[in-house]
Amino acid sequence: MARHSVIEDTPPPGVLIVGAGFIADHHGAALRATPRARLAGIVDVDAGRASAAATAAGGVAWSTDLGEALARPDVDAVIVCTPNMTHEPIALQVAAAGKHLLMEKPLTITVPSARAVVEAFDAAGTVVMAAHTHRFYDYGRAVDDAIAGGAIGRPVFARLAMLGGWIWPDWRAWVLDPAKSGGHALHNGVHLLDLVSWWLRDEPVSVYARGRKRTAEELRIHDYLEMHVEYAGGASAVCEMSRGHRPSTIDRRDVLVAGTDGVLQLPAEGWGSPLVTESGASLLPPQAANGFAVQLDAWLDAIADPAAERAMTPADAVRAVALGVATELSIERAEPVTLDEVMGGVLA
């Protein structure tokens, strides 16, 4: 892994966290655990939330004004954890301020805006990375390592299921508003769409998706998504993302990748130690690397050496957005949608 190329007495980059919701806690914990960067401050539109998070983080600076925070010379980079519809304007503001960016997924909720963000960072010469954290979890890497090692030949078919029950707040949650979240495909679907595309090492060409509103018919997003992706090299994938399964305690990840020379499986029941207690049965997960910390390292590597190969490229982030948009469109039309169409006829 590349290490930062700064001379020894240069202070580690100062990182601003924008948006003090639950996902910010994961990024904050990763930041506190690394000597390679330091938390420079917290920005949130809600002063109470910003100050509380700043206090919890050991009394760092906080603000409700992003422009003011970005102007600080001790801020070199930004991790954005705000609602999806704010990603584009905030990203453009960060690019204009000349800072690096780790953007919670999705990069943005439309393809033109995703492109605009990538172009803005290209122009500024700074790093932008979308936080597709599953690439940095042990399981995602184990599957990728096996494929990279040629264990199953050329991968041709992947199944990835992430099944869970309702975890969102009530009707007022922004994620339930497609105008704010982009829909479930942009909010969570992109995790799976990115991961299988990475594993399959192939370029997606079309998506056929089916969505369900399991928890309530009045939902305006699909709490269950089934996404079938076809790839240029002939591979295909079936991804399922659910927040609509019952019982709501279900927590399931299932991986199957078939290759020309073998089959790879991470069975749903192979995840941990079965634990049966007076209150029922559950799975005790194994100790694992902190995906947020591994991801942070990858981002800091890119900042230290922008020319080095990236763990997650800007083009990957645009592609994930395009796949999410194609999924939502395919559900609406009940027909397959080509990536060409959602990319505006130009492949990134």
Binding site: V156, F157, R212, H228, R246, T260, D261
Partner: protein
């Protein structure tokens, strides 16, 4: 009718030159089943007659009849096990039914939905049993699951995900959509009881050197909003799977109140030795249980489950899958259905 039914083994062909379910699957199962006795063999073409003559000698049976009509006129025959070449299969099944015989028909019952419908019409008209050999639904894990789902154990089912991956063996020259898809489609229909209304499909060739498809993905929209996805195909050989054995055979049923995972590689005693590990179990196989259903339907004078009508619906789905894969768009099935 005596307790033991006389069986005529008719034809020894399949999809592809080395597929002979008659001798590989049905003859052994009929031979060990208390309710049946193989009393005659016959072929309907030169190759079939040659096999029939050799088999008659081996089994100590009378010489095969010279033609189909004579073979079907044998009063000792109650049941005809039909494995004639798929393109003549529908006509042979119809001839057997017209001759007053019950039928076990190798899969596929016919190569098109239209041909399957002709068979189903004659089966309905004669009131005789015409059982398509969709034996995977009789797997003990699947049989138990059918009961559980029907009893509402997962509430109202809304999605099924299925994988049916065979490893090794000889790829079917007709493609694995034609060869294998009938099995998992039949299981999904047996599990849920919901007819299919819309089909989107993709066919690929990943593993075989020939041009035929060896992987099909079927995205089915059923009645009552149920959706199902079936991955079916044949990979290359795998060390821990016997040639032409199932490397992966599983179904997940998601319902309004629960989830049921069915792994048809179980129950199993797992054997691990110096060579690749293997599995074993005791008890009746799926074909033995298929014959139990044949015997029970004949005794009760009821249509078998699966019925010829079920085979028609599956053939409609397979036809639609082929059309969808060629066009790249979903295909609607007729609303009235074929029941």
């Amino acid at each position: 009718m005596s307790d033991t039914l006389g069986v005529l083994l008719l034809g020894f062909a399949g999809l592809g030159p080395d597929q002979d379910h008659q001798q590989d699957m049905y003859l052994p199962a009929f031979s060990t089943h208390d309710g049946f006795e193989v009393v005659a063999v016959a072929g309907d073409d030169a190759a079939g007659r040659t096999t029939a003559e050799r088999l008659a000698g081996k089994l100590g049976l009378p010489a095969p009849a010279a033609d189909l009509a004579t073979a079907l006129a044998d009063p000792a025959v109650d049941v005809v096990s039909v494995c004639v070449s798929p393109e003549r299969r529908a006509d042979a099944v119809i001839a057997a039914l017209r001759a007053g015989k019950h039928v076990l028909a190798d899969k596929p019952l016919a190569l098109t939905a239209a041909d399957a419908a002709r068979v189903a019409a004659v089966a309905a008209e004669t009131g005789l049993v015409c059982l398509p050999a969709h034996h995977q639904r009789f797997h003990p894990m699947i049989g138990a699951a059918r009961g559980a789902v029907a009893a509402g154990k997962v509430g109202l089912p809304w999605n099924v995900q299925a994988d049916f991956l065979v490893a090794g063996g000889t790829p079917s020259p007709a493609g694995e959509l034609a060869n294998f898809a009938v099995y998992p489609i039949d299981v999904v229909l047996a599990l849920t009881g919901q007819r299919v209304r819309r089909v989107f499909a993709r066919l690929s060739t990943h593993w075989s050197d020939g041009g035929a498809d060896d992987h099909a993905l079927l995205f089915l929209d059923h009645d009552n909003g149920l959706t199902s996805t079936i991955s079916v195909g044949r990979t290359r050989e795998l060390a821990d799977t016997p040639p032409a054995g199932l490397a992966l055979h599983r179904y997940r049923v998601s319902g309004s109140h629960g989830v049921l995972d069915i792994d048809a590689s179980r129950p199993a005693v797992v054997l691990r030795r110096a060579e690749a590990s293997s599995h074993t179990w005791h008890g009746a196989g799926t074909v033995d249980r298929l014959l139990d259903e044949l015997r029970a339907a004949i005794a009760a004078g009821r249509p078998s489950a699966p019925s010829a009508a079920d085979a028609v619906h599956i053939a409609e789905i397979v036809d639609a899958a082929r059309t969808s894969a060629a066009s790249g768009t979903p295909v609607e099935l007729s609303q009235e259905g074929s029941r």
